[in-house]
Protein backbone atom coordinates (compact mmCIF):
# COMPACT_ATOMS: atom_id res chain seq x y z
CA UNK A 1 0.00 0.00 0.00
CA UNK A 2 1.46 3.29 -1.03
CA UNK A 3 0.13 5.94 1.25
CA UNK A 4 0.44 9.62 1.36
CA UNK A 5 2.91 11.00 3.89
CA UNK A 6 1.25 13.35 6.39
CA UNK A 7 4.29 14.09 8.50
CA UNK A 8 7.61 14.66 6.84
CA UNK A 9 10.76 15.61 8.73
CA UNK A 10 14.15 15.82 7.02
CA UNK A 11 17.47 16.07 8.82
CA UNK A 12 15.97 17.86 11.78
CA UNK A 13 18.48 19.14 14.30
CA UNK A 14 18.05 20.91 17.60
CA UNK A 15 20.48 21.73 20.36
CA UNK A 16 20.27 23.55 23.65
CA UNK A 17 23.03 25.31 25.56
CA UNK A 18 24.26 22.93 28.27
CA UNK A 19 25.11 25.73 30.65
CA UNK A 20 28.85 25.05 30.38
CA UNK A 21 29.47 26.82 27.11
CA UNK A 22 28.68 23.78 24.97
CA UNK A 23 25.55 22.41 23.41
CA UNK A 24 23.40 19.36 24.05
CA UNK A 25 22.24 17.87 20.78
CA UNK A 26 18.70 16.97 21.74
CA UNK A 27 17.80 16.04 18.16
CA UNK A 28 20.80 15.21 16.00
CA UNK A 29 19.63 14.72 12.43
CA UNK A 30 16.29 12.91 12.38
CA UNK A 31 14.43 11.85 9.23
CA UNK A 32 10.86 10.73 9.65
CA UNK A 33 7.97 10.05 7.28
CA UNK A 34 4.58 9.15 8.72
CA UNK A 35 1.83 7.90 6.44
CA UNK A 36 -1.83 8.83 6.79
CA UNK A 37 -3.63 6.59 9.26
CA UNK A 38 -0.42 5.17 10.68
CA UNK A 39 0.04 4.55 14.40
CA UNK A 40 3.65 5.15 15.31
CA UNK A 41 5.44 4.77 18.62
CA UNK A 42 8.47 6.89 19.37
CA UNK A 43 10.33 4.76 21.84
CA UNK A 44 13.31 5.84 23.86
CA UNK A 45 14.67 6.42 27.35
CA UNK A 46 14.38 9.73 29.14
CA UNK A 47 16.55 12.30 27.45
CA UNK A 48 16.43 10.54 24.09
CA UNK A 49 15.07 13.66 22.42
CA UNK A 50 11.48 12.44 22.02
CA UNK A 51 9.83 15.46 23.59
CA UNK A 52 12.02 17.88 21.65
CA UNK A 53 11.24 16.09 18.39
CA UNK A 54 7.50 16.17 19.14
CA UNK A 55 7.73 19.86 20.06
CA UNK A 56 9.31 20.46 16.66
CA UNK A 57 6.59 18.48 14.88
CA UNK A 58 4.02 20.62 16.70
CA UNK A 59 5.71 23.92 15.93
CA UNK A 60 6.30 24.61 19.63
CA UNK A 61 10.05 24.62 19.03
CA UNK A 62 11.82 25.84 15.94
CA UNK A 63 14.58 23.44 14.90
CA UNK A 64 18.09 24.73 14.37
CA UNK A 65 18.02 23.18 10.92
CA UNK A 66 15.98 20.79 8.82
CA UNK A 67 12.55 20.77 7.19
CA UNK A 68 9.28 19.75 8.76
CA UNK A 69 5.90 19.67 7.10
CA UNK A 70 2.60 18.35 8.35
CA UNK A 71 -0.10 17.74 5.78
CA UNK A 72 1.87 19.93 3.39
CA UNK A 73 1.82 22.86 5.81
CA UNK A 74 4.24 24.20 8.38
CA UNK A 75 3.60 22.65 11.81
CA UNK A 76 2.18 25.91 13.17
CA UNK A 77 -0.19 26.28 10.22
CA UNK A 78 -1.25 22.66 10.62
CA UNK A 79 -2.05 23.33 14.28
CA UNK A 80 -3.93 26.52 13.48
CA UNK A 81 -6.00 24.73 10.87
CA UNK A 82 -6.99 22.13 13.45
CA UNK A 83 -5.51 19.29 11.39
CA UNK A 84 -2.82 18.59 14.01
CA UNK A 85 -3.31 18.43 17.75
CA UNK A 86 -1.51 17.03 20.75
CA UNK A 87 -1.68 15.76 24.28
CA UNK A 88 1.23 17.33 26.14
CA UNK A 89 3.18 15.62 28.86
CA UNK A 90 2.83 17.91 31.83
CA UNK A 91 1.31 21.17 32.89
CA UNK A 92 -0.92 22.94 30.47
CA UNK A 93 -3.93 23.25 32.74
CA UNK A 94 -5.25 25.98 35.01
CA UNK A 95 -6.02 24.53 38.47
CA UNK A 96 -8.91 26.88 39.27
CA UNK A 97 -11.00 26.04 36.20
CA UNK A 98 -13.28 23.02 36.22
CA UNK A 99 -12.64 20.31 33.65
CA UNK A 100 -15.68 21.34 31.59
CA UNK A 101 -14.73 25.02 31.74
CA UNK A 102 -11.26 24.15 30.49
CA UNK A 103 -12.77 22.37 27.47
CA UNK A 104 -15.13 25.29 26.81
CA UNK A 105 -12.35 27.84 27.11
CA UNK A 106 -9.98 26.06 24.72
CA UNK A 107 -12.89 25.41 22.34
CA UNK A 108 -13.27 29.17 21.82
CA UNK A 109 -9.75 29.22 20.39
CA UNK A 110 -10.30 26.67 17.64
CA UNK A 111 -11.63 27.52 14.22
CA UNK A 112 -14.10 24.69 13.87
CA UNK A 113 -14.20 22.78 17.14
CA UNK A 114 -16.04 19.58 17.89
CA UNK A 115 -18.90 19.87 20.37
CA UNK A 116 -17.82 20.39 23.96
CA UNK A 117 -20.19 17.70 25.22
CA UNK A 118 -19.06 15.35 22.51
CA UNK A 119 -15.37 15.45 23.44
CA UNK A 120 -16.20 15.36 27.15
CA UNK A 121 -17.98 12.05 26.53
CA UNK A 122 -15.43 10.66 24.10
CA UNK A 123 -12.51 11.33 26.42
CA UNK A 124 -14.35 10.10 29.51
CA UNK A 125 -14.31 13.46 31.27
CA UNK A 126 -18.05 13.41 32.10
CA UNK A 127 -17.74 11.88 35.62
CA UNK A 128 -15.56 14.76 36.84
CA UNK A 129 -16.59 17.52 34.44
CA UNK A 130 -17.57 19.96 37.20
CA UNK A 131 -14.52 19.32 39.38
CA UNK A 132 -11.76 21.95 39.56
CA UNK A 133 -8.73 20.77 37.62
CA UNK A 134 -6.51 21.23 40.69
CA UNK A 135 -8.53 18.55 42.48
CA UNK A 136 -8.45 16.04 39.62
CA UNK A 137 -6.12 13.04 39.77
CA UNK A 138 -3.24 12.70 37.34
CA UNK A 139 -5.19 10.19 35.28
CA UNK A 140 -8.22 12.50 35.15
CA UNK A 141 -6.04 15.39 34.04
CA UNK A 142 -4.67 13.21 31.25
CA UNK A 143 -8.24 12.44 30.15
CA UNK A 144 -8.96 16.15 30.15
CA UNK A 145 -5.87 16.80 28.03
CA UNK A 146 -7.10 14.09 25.70
CA UNK A 147 -10.45 15.88 25.43
CA UNK A 148 -8.60 19.10 24.56
CA UNK A 149 -6.60 17.23 21.92
CA UNK A 150 -9.85 16.03 20.32
CA UNK A 151 -11.41 19.51 20.19
CA UNK A 152 -10.10 20.61 16.77
CA UNK A 153 -11.27 17.28 15.26
CA UNK A 154 -7.68 16.49 14.27
CA UNK A 155 -6.45 14.20 11.52
CA UNK A 156 -3.12 13.78 13.30
CA UNK A 157 -2.70 13.44 17.07
CA UNK A 158 0.66 13.64 18.81
CA UNK A 159 0.87 12.22 22.33
CA UNK A 160 3.83 12.79 24.62
CA UNK A 161 3.93 9.97 27.16
CA UNK A 162 0.16 10.06 27.48
CA UNK A 163 -0.18 7.43 30.19
CA UNK A 164 2.43 8.84 32.56
CA UNK A 165 0.95 8.83 36.05
CA UNK A 166 -1.90 6.47 35.18
CA UNK A 167 -2.55 3.18 36.92
CA UNK A 168 -2.93 0.00 34.89
CA UNK A 169 -6.71 0.23 34.57
CA UNK A 170 -6.62 3.86 33.47
CA UNK A 171 -3.83 3.05 31.03
CA UNK A 172 -5.89 0.24 29.50
CA UNK A 173 -8.94 2.46 29.22
CA UNK A 174 -6.94 5.29 27.69
CA UNK A 175 -5.53 3.11 24.95
CA UNK A 176 -9.00 1.74 24.28
CA UNK A 177 -10.22 5.27 23.59
CA UNK A 178 -7.15 6.04 21.52
CA UNK A 179 -7.61 2.89 19.47
CA UNK A 180 -11.13 4.02 18.62
CA UNK A 181 -9.66 7.23 17.22
CA UNK A 182 -7.05 5.35 15.20
CA UNK A 183 -9.78 3.08 13.83
CA UNK A 184 -11.49 6.16 12.45
CA UNK A 185 -8.37 6.93 10.46
CA UNK A 186 -6.65 9.40 12.76
CA UNK A 187 -2.86 9.31 12.44
CA UNK A 188 -1.31 8.80 15.86
CA UNK A 189 2.28 9.49 16.88
CA UNK A 190 3.08 8.83 20.51
CA UNK A 191 6.21 8.95 22.63
CA UNK A 192 6.69 6.39 25.33
CA UNK A 193 9.41 4.70 27.28
CA UNK A 194 7.34 1.57 27.74
CA UNK A 195 8.13 -1.12 25.20
CA UNK A 196 4.81 -2.79 26.06
CA UNK A 197 2.85 0.26 24.98
CA UNK A 198 4.59 0.33 21.64
CA UNK A 199 3.95 -3.39 21.22
CA UNK A 200 0.29 -3.27 22.09
CA UNK A 201 -0.67 -0.20 20.19
CA UNK A 202 1.72 0.73 17.40
CA UNK A 203 2.31 -1.13 14.19
CA UNK A 204 5.46 0.86 13.63
CA UNK A 205 8.09 1.84 16.14
CA UNK A 206 10.86 4.37 15.88
CA UNK A 207 13.59 3.79 18.39
CA UNK A 208 15.38 6.92 19.52
CA UNK A 209 18.34 7.54 21.74
CA UNK A 210 20.52 10.58 22.27
CA UNK A 211 18.82 12.51 19.53
CA UNK A 212 19.16 9.87 16.82
CA UNK A 213 16.92 7.26 15.28
CA UNK A 214 18.42 3.85 16.04
CA UNK A 215 15.79 1.70 14.43
CA UNK A 216 12.62 2.32 12.47
CA UNK A 217 10.31 -0.43 11.33
CA UNK A 218 7.43 -2.73 12.20
CA UNK A 219 7.14 -2.96 15.97
CA UNK A 220 7.74 -6.73 15.93
CA UNK A 221 11.12 -6.28 14.30
CA UNK A 222 12.16 -3.42 16.49
CA UNK A 223 10.95 -5.39 19.48
CA UNK A 224 13.13 -8.32 18.46
CA UNK A 225 16.13 -6.06 18.42
CA UNK A 226 15.27 -4.14 21.53
CA UNK A 227 13.89 -7.18 23.32
CA UNK A 228 17.25 -8.74 24.01
CA UNK A 229 17.56 -10.86 27.12
CA UNK A 230 20.19 -12.25 29.43
CA UNK A 231 20.30 -16.01 30.00
CA UNK A 232 22.44 -17.14 32.91
CA UNK A 233 23.36 -20.74 33.65
CA UNK A 234 25.69 -22.73 35.88
CA UNK A 235 28.05 -24.14 33.31
CA UNK A 236 31.73 -23.95 32.53
CA UNK A 237 32.00 -24.64 28.83
CA UNK A 238 35.18 -25.09 26.85
CA UNK A 239 35.93 -22.62 24.12
CA UNK A 240 34.77 -25.13 21.52
CA UNK A 241 31.51 -25.80 23.34
CA UNK A 242 30.93 -22.10 23.72
CA UNK A 243 31.42 -21.54 20.02
CA UNK A 244 28.62 -23.98 19.20
CA UNK A 245 25.95 -22.22 21.28
CA UNK A 246 23.40 -20.59 18.96
CA UNK A 247 21.62 -17.21 19.26
CA UNK A 248 24.42 -15.72 21.33
CA UNK A 249 25.40 -12.08 21.01
CA UNK A 250 27.90 -12.21 23.79
CA UNK A 251 28.99 -14.44 26.65
CA UNK A 252 30.44 -13.42 29.99
CA UNK A 253 31.85 -15.84 32.52
CA UNK A 254 31.92 -15.15 36.18
CA UNK A 255 33.09 -18.07 38.30
CA UNK A 256 30.84 -21.04 37.61
CA UNK A 257 28.13 -18.97 36.03
CA UNK A 258 27.97 -17.98 32.39
CA UNK A 259 25.74 -15.16 31.16
CA UNK A 260 24.68 -15.02 27.53
CA UNK A 261 23.17 -12.05 25.85
CA UNK A 262 20.71 -13.10 23.22
CA UNK A 263 17.98 -11.97 20.89
CA UNK A 264 16.23 -15.36 21.18
CA UNK A 265 16.09 -16.39 24.80
CA UNK A 266 13.69 -19.29 24.09
CA UNK A 267 15.93 -20.83 21.45
CA UNK A 268 19.03 -20.36 23.56
CA UNK A 269 17.41 -21.79 26.69
CA UNK A 270 16.12 -24.77 24.75
CA UNK A 271 19.60 -25.50 23.42
CA UNK A 272 21.36 -25.01 26.75
CA UNK A 273 18.98 -27.27 28.67
CA UNK A 274 18.83 -30.04 26.04
CA UNK A 275 22.22 -30.08 24.35
CA UNK A 276 24.58 -29.09 27.14
CA UNK A 277 25.05 -29.75 30.82
CA UNK A 278 23.93 -26.27 31.85
CA UNK A 279 21.76 -26.06 34.98
CA UNK A 280 20.00 -23.43 37.08
CA UNK A 281 18.91 -21.37 34.12
CA UNK A 282 17.52 -17.89 34.64
CA UNK A 283 16.26 -15.49 32.00
CA UNK A 284 16.23 -11.77 32.52
CA UNK A 285 14.85 -9.50 29.82
CA UNK A 286 17.16 -6.64 29.01
CA UNK A 287 15.81 -3.31 30.15
CA UNK A 288 15.11 -0.77 27.48
CA UNK A 289 18.22 1.11 28.53
CA UNK A 290 20.30 -2.03 28.01
CA UNK A 291 18.64 -2.69 24.69
CA UNK A 292 19.54 0.80 23.56
CA UNK A 293 23.09 0.22 24.66
CA UNK A 294 23.22 -2.96 22.59
CA UNK A 295 21.98 -1.16 19.56
CA UNK A 296 24.47 1.64 19.93
CA UNK A 297 27.51 -0.53 20.60
CA UNK A 298 29.96 -1.62 18.00
CA UNK A 299 29.96 -5.34 17.16
CA UNK A 300 30.41 -7.01 20.50
CA UNK A 301 33.31 -9.33 21.25
CA UNK A 302 32.71 -12.41 23.43
CA UNK A 303 34.23 -12.21 26.87
CA UNK A 304 33.85 -8.48 27.14
CA UNK A 305 32.74 -7.15 30.42
CA UNK A 306 29.97 -4.63 30.51
CA UNK A 307 31.04 -1.03 30.56
CA UNK A 308 28.49 1.58 31.29
CA UNK A 309 28.38 3.96 28.40
CA UNK A 310 29.13 7.46 29.47
CA UNK A 311 27.42 10.23 27.67
CA UNK A 312 30.43 12.02 26.30
CA UNK A 313 33.04 9.32 25.75
CA UNK A 314 31.30 7.14 23.21
CA UNK A 315 30.63 7.90 19.59
CA UNK A 316 27.13 6.86 18.68
CA UNK A 317 26.77 4.63 15.67
CA UNK A 318 23.30 3.97 14.45
Amino acid sequence: MVSESVISARDVRMSFPDGAGGHVHAVAGVDLEVARGEVLALLGPNGAGKTTLLDILLGLTTPRSGDVSVGGLSPRAAVQSGMLSALLQTGGLLPDLTAAETVRMIATLHADPAGVDEVIDTAGVRPFASRPVGKCSGGQQQRLRFALALLPRPEIVVLDEPTAGMDVAARHEFWGRMRAQADEGVTVVFATHYLEEAEQFARRTVLMDRGRVLADGPTDEVRARAGAAYVTVSWTPTAAELAQVPHVLRADREGARTTFRTEDSDGLARYLLTATGARGLTVRPASLEEAFRLLTEDSPTPGDTEHPVTADSEEVTA
Partner: protein, 267 residues
Protein backbone atom coordinates in the same frame (compact mmCIF):
# COMPACT_ATOMS: atom_id res chain seq x y z
CA UNK B 1 -6.89 3.84 4.51
CA UNK B 2 -9.95 5.72 5.49
CA UNK B 3 -12.97 5.81 3.30
CA UNK B 4 -13.70 9.01 1.50
CA UNK B 5 -14.96 11.05 4.40
CA UNK B 6 -15.79 14.66 3.85
CA UNK B 7 -12.72 16.76 4.50
CA UNK B 8 -12.81 18.95 7.57
CA UNK B 9 -13.67 22.53 7.05
CA UNK B 10 -10.32 23.76 8.26
CA UNK B 11 -10.33 27.50 8.52
CA UNK B 12 -7.25 29.38 9.61
CA UNK B 13 -7.45 31.97 12.32
CA UNK B 14 -11.12 31.48 13.09
CA UNK B 15 -11.13 31.76 16.85
CA UNK B 16 -13.23 33.70 19.26
CA UNK B 17 -10.90 35.89 21.29
CA UNK B 18 -13.80 37.82 22.79
CA UNK B 19 -15.32 34.72 24.35
CA UNK B 20 -11.92 33.61 25.62
CA UNK B 21 -11.40 37.02 27.25
CA UNK B 22 -14.85 36.92 28.84
CA UNK B 23 -14.18 33.46 30.29
CA UNK B 24 -10.73 34.45 31.57
CA UNK B 25 -12.18 37.60 33.15
CA UNK B 26 -14.88 35.59 34.91
CA UNK B 27 -12.25 33.12 36.12
CA UNK B 28 -10.19 35.91 37.68
CA UNK B 29 -13.22 37.59 39.18
CA UNK B 30 -14.21 34.29 40.76
CA UNK B 31 -10.85 34.09 42.47
CA UNK B 32 -12.24 35.21 45.82
CA UNK B 33 -8.94 36.18 47.44
CA UNK B 34 -7.97 38.34 44.50
CA UNK B 35 -11.32 40.05 44.19
CA UNK B 36 -11.45 40.73 47.91
CA UNK B 37 -8.03 42.37 48.04
CA UNK B 38 -8.47 44.23 44.78
CA UNK B 39 -12.04 45.50 45.19
CA UNK B 40 -13.51 45.03 48.66
CA UNK B 41 -10.48 46.04 50.73
CA UNK B 42 -9.72 49.34 48.94
CA UNK B 43 -13.40 50.26 49.02
CA UNK B 44 -13.55 49.59 52.75
CA UNK B 45 -10.38 51.64 53.25
CA UNK B 46 -11.93 54.53 51.42
CA UNK B 47 -15.20 54.36 53.35
CA UNK B 48 -13.30 54.41 56.66
CA UNK B 49 -10.58 56.93 55.95
CA UNK B 50 -11.80 58.86 52.95
CA UNK B 51 -15.49 59.36 53.39
CA UNK B 52 -16.19 59.59 57.10
CA UNK B 53 -13.45 61.69 58.63
CA UNK B 54 -14.02 65.16 60.03
CA UNK B 55 -11.81 66.65 57.36
CA UNK B 56 -13.26 64.68 54.43
CA UNK B 57 -15.15 67.68 53.16
CA UNK B 58 -12.25 70.15 53.44
CA UNK B 59 -11.34 71.67 50.08
CA UNK B 60 -8.33 70.44 48.10
CA UNK B 61 -7.55 71.94 44.73
CA UNK B 62 -10.78 72.00 42.74
CA UNK B 63 -12.39 69.33 44.94
CA UNK B 64 -12.16 68.01 48.49
CA UNK B 65 -10.05 65.73 50.71
CA UNK B 66 -12.39 62.81 50.17
CA UNK B 67 -11.76 62.96 46.41
CA UNK B 68 -8.03 63.32 47.06
CA UNK B 69 -8.06 60.12 49.15
CA UNK B 70 -10.39 58.25 46.78
CA UNK B 71 -8.08 58.74 43.78
CA UNK B 72 -5.06 57.37 45.65
CA UNK B 73 -6.87 54.32 47.03
CA UNK B 74 -8.28 53.61 43.57
CA UNK B 75 -4.72 53.77 42.21
CA UNK B 76 -3.68 51.31 44.89
CA UNK B 77 -6.52 48.90 43.94
CA UNK B 78 -5.79 49.21 40.22
CA UNK B 79 -2.06 48.64 40.72
CA UNK B 80 -2.83 45.54 42.79
CA UNK B 81 -5.05 44.25 40.00
CA UNK B 82 -2.49 44.68 37.24
CA UNK B 83 0.34 43.33 39.42
CA UNK B 84 -1.49 40.15 40.28
CA UNK B 85 -2.90 39.68 36.76
CA UNK B 86 0.48 40.08 35.08
CA UNK B 87 2.20 37.94 37.70
CA UNK B 88 -0.30 35.13 37.32
CA UNK B 89 -0.10 35.38 33.52
CA UNK B 90 3.65 34.79 33.76
CA UNK B 91 3.00 31.77 35.97
CA UNK B 92 0.33 30.40 33.64
CA UNK B 93 2.75 30.52 30.71
CA UNK B 94 5.48 28.83 32.71
CA UNK B 95 3.15 26.15 34.00
CA UNK B 96 2.41 25.04 30.48
CA UNK B 97 -0.86 26.84 29.73
CA UNK B 98 1.08 28.72 27.07
CA UNK B 99 1.94 25.41 25.44
CA UNK B 100 -1.71 24.41 25.52
CA UNK B 101 -2.67 27.70 23.88
CA UNK B 102 0.09 27.22 21.30
CA UNK B 103 -1.90 24.17 20.16
CA UNK B 104 -4.88 26.29 19.19
CA UNK B 105 -5.57 28.65 16.33
CA UNK B 106 -4.80 31.66 18.54
CA UNK B 107 -1.45 33.32 17.81
CA UNK B 108 0.82 34.15 20.75
CA UNK B 109 0.32 37.86 20.28
CA UNK B 110 -3.40 37.43 20.82
CA UNK B 111 -2.73 35.86 24.23
CA UNK B 112 -0.93 39.02 25.28
CA UNK B 113 -3.80 41.14 23.96
CA UNK B 114 -6.29 38.95 25.84
CA UNK B 115 -4.32 39.23 29.09
CA UNK B 116 -3.92 42.97 28.68
CA UNK B 117 -7.68 43.39 28.17
CA UNK B 118 -8.46 41.24 31.22
CA UNK B 119 -5.85 43.11 33.30
CA UNK B 120 -7.24 46.52 32.36
CA UNK B 121 -10.78 45.28 33.08
CA UNK B 122 -9.65 43.99 36.46
CA UNK B 123 -7.89 47.30 37.15
CA UNK B 124 -10.99 49.25 36.12
CA UNK B 125 -13.18 47.38 38.61
CA UNK B 126 -11.80 48.85 41.86
CA UNK B 127 -11.57 52.26 40.19
CA UNK B 128 -15.23 52.15 39.18
CA UNK B 129 -16.42 50.77 42.52
CA UNK B 130 -14.43 53.35 44.47
CA UNK B 131 -15.56 56.23 42.33
CA UNK B 132 -19.17 55.13 42.70
CA UNK B 133 -18.60 54.97 46.45
CA UNK B 134 -17.20 58.48 46.18
CA UNK B 135 -20.19 59.72 44.20
CA UNK B 136 -22.61 58.41 46.80
CA UNK B 137 -20.64 59.75 49.76
CA UNK B 138 -18.86 63.07 50.13
CA UNK B 139 -16.16 63.07 47.43
CA UNK B 140 -16.46 66.11 45.23
CA UNK B 141 -14.79 67.20 42.01
CA UNK B 142 -15.98 68.92 38.82
CA UNK B 143 -17.23 66.19 36.39
CA UNK B 144 -14.48 66.80 33.82
CA UNK B 145 -11.76 66.53 36.47
CA UNK B 146 -13.46 63.45 37.83
CA UNK B 147 -13.35 61.67 34.45
CA UNK B 148 -9.74 62.70 33.90
CA UNK B 149 -8.65 61.24 37.24
CA UNK B 150 -10.49 57.98 36.51
CA UNK B 151 -8.67 57.62 33.19
CA UNK B 152 -5.30 58.49 34.73
CA UNK B 153 -5.88 56.04 37.60
CA UNK B 154 -6.53 53.14 35.23
CA UNK B 155 -3.70 54.15 32.89
CA UNK B 156 -1.32 54.64 35.80
CA UNK B 157 -1.74 51.02 36.83
CA UNK B 158 -0.09 49.77 33.64
CA UNK B 159 3.55 50.12 34.79
CA UNK B 160 2.63 47.72 37.57
CA UNK B 161 1.81 45.10 34.96
CA UNK B 162 5.55 45.06 34.21
CA UNK B 163 6.25 44.92 37.94
CA UNK B 164 3.97 41.87 38.37
CA UNK B 165 5.37 40.26 35.24
CA UNK B 166 8.94 40.70 36.48
CA UNK B 167 8.08 39.10 39.81
CA UNK B 168 6.26 36.23 38.10
CA UNK B 169 9.18 35.65 35.76
CA UNK B 170 11.81 35.69 38.48
CA UNK B 171 10.16 33.78 41.32
CA UNK B 172 7.73 31.50 39.48
CA UNK B 173 5.38 31.04 42.41
CA UNK B 174 1.94 32.21 43.42
CA UNK B 175 3.29 33.17 46.84
CA UNK B 176 5.82 35.56 45.30
CA UNK B 177 3.14 37.25 43.21
CA UNK B 178 1.00 37.50 46.35
CA UNK B 179 3.88 39.03 48.27
CA UNK B 180 4.56 41.50 45.46
CA UNK B 181 0.91 42.53 45.58
CA UNK B 182 1.08 42.84 49.36
CA UNK B 183 4.19 45.02 49.09
CA UNK B 184 2.04 47.60 47.30
CA UNK B 185 0.57 48.62 50.69
CA UNK B 186 3.99 49.88 51.75
CA UNK B 187 4.73 51.41 48.37
CA UNK B 188 1.36 53.16 48.48
CA UNK B 189 2.08 54.54 51.93
CA UNK B 190 5.44 55.83 50.68
CA UNK B 191 3.69 57.00 47.55
CA UNK B 192 1.70 59.51 49.59
CA UNK B 193 -1.49 57.59 48.88
CA UNK B 194 -3.00 56.92 52.29
CA UNK B 195 -2.05 59.92 54.39
CA UNK B 196 -0.26 63.15 53.55
CA UNK B 197 3.48 62.71 54.12
CA UNK B 198 5.96 65.42 54.96
CA UNK B 199 9.63 65.81 55.81
CA UNK B 200 12.03 62.93 55.22
CA UNK B 201 9.30 60.40 54.38
CA UNK B 202 8.04 62.66 51.61
CA UNK B 203 11.59 63.15 50.29
CA UNK B 204 12.08 59.38 50.16
CA UNK B 205 8.57 58.73 48.90
CA UNK B 206 9.07 60.91 45.84
CA UNK B 207 11.46 58.27 44.46
CA UNK B 208 9.19 55.27 45.01
CA UNK B 209 7.07 53.78 42.20
CA UNK B 210 3.55 54.44 43.55
CA UNK B 211 4.31 58.12 44.12
CA UNK B 212 4.36 59.01 40.46
CA UNK B 213 1.16 57.31 39.42
CA UNK B 214 -0.76 58.59 42.45
CA UNK B 215 0.45 62.15 41.91
CA UNK B 216 -0.37 61.90 38.22
CA UNK B 217 -3.90 60.65 38.89
CA UNK B 218 -4.41 63.50 41.38
CA UNK B 219 -2.95 66.10 39.07
CA UNK B 220 -6.27 67.24 37.54
CA UNK B 221 -7.57 67.76 41.09
CA UNK B 222 -4.55 69.39 42.72
CA UNK B 223 -2.51 70.82 39.88
CA UNK B 224 0.49 69.29 41.68
CA UNK B 225 -0.11 70.96 45.02
CA UNK B 226 0.64 68.81 48.02
CA UNK B 227 -1.67 68.34 50.97
CA UNK B 228 -0.12 68.48 54.42
CA UNK B 229 -1.50 67.85 57.87
CA UNK B 230 0.27 70.84 59.38
CA UNK B 231 -0.44 73.33 56.66
CA UNK B 232 2.90 74.06 54.98
CA UNK B 233 2.44 72.23 51.68
CA UNK B 234 4.63 72.32 48.62
CA UNK B 235 3.98 71.55 45.01
CA UNK B 236 5.21 68.87 42.61
CA UNK B 237 5.92 70.09 39.07
CA UNK B 238 4.34 67.94 36.37
CA UNK B 239 7.73 67.02 34.88
CA UNK B 240 8.80 65.48 38.16
CA UNK B 241 5.65 63.39 38.38
CA UNK B 242 6.04 62.22 34.79
CA UNK B 243 9.74 61.50 35.33
CA UNK B 244 8.87 59.22 38.24
CA UNK B 245 6.27 57.32 36.17
CA UNK B 246 8.58 57.05 33.15
CA UNK B 247 11.61 55.97 35.18
CA UNK B 248 9.78 53.18 37.02
CA UNK B 249 8.06 52.01 33.83
CA UNK B 250 11.47 51.69 32.19
CA UNK B 251 12.95 49.92 35.23
CA UNK B 252 10.15 47.34 35.37
CA UNK B 253 10.02 46.85 31.60
CA UNK B 254 13.79 46.36 31.31
CA UNK B 255 13.67 43.87 34.20
CA UNK B 256 11.03 41.88 32.28
CA UNK B 257 13.09 41.98 29.12
CA UNK B 258 16.25 40.77 30.88
CA UNK B 259 14.38 38.02 32.70
CA UNK B 260 12.70 36.88 29.51
CA UNK B 261 16.04 36.77 27.72
CA UNK B 262 17.69 34.73 30.45
CA UNK B 263 15.07 32.01 30.16
CA UNK B 264 16.61 29.38 27.94
CA UNK B 265 14.88 26.30 29.31
CA UNK B 266 12.03 24.64 27.49
CA UNK B 267 9.42 25.21 30.14
Amino acid sequence: MTTATTPHRHVRGGYSLGRYIAMDFRRNLRNVGNSFFVIVLPTALFLFFGASMDWSGEPVGVGNVSAWTMIAIASYGAAMATTSMAGSAALEIQQGWGRQLALTAMPHGAFIVAKAVVAVAMAALPVLVLNLAGVFTVADMPPGVWLATVALTIGGSLPFAFYGLAIGLSFRSDAAVGAATGLLVILSFLGNAFMPLDGVLLDIGRFTPMYGIVALARYPLTGGDLVAMGGAAGSDPLWMVLANVAAWTVVFAVACLLLQRSRTTRR
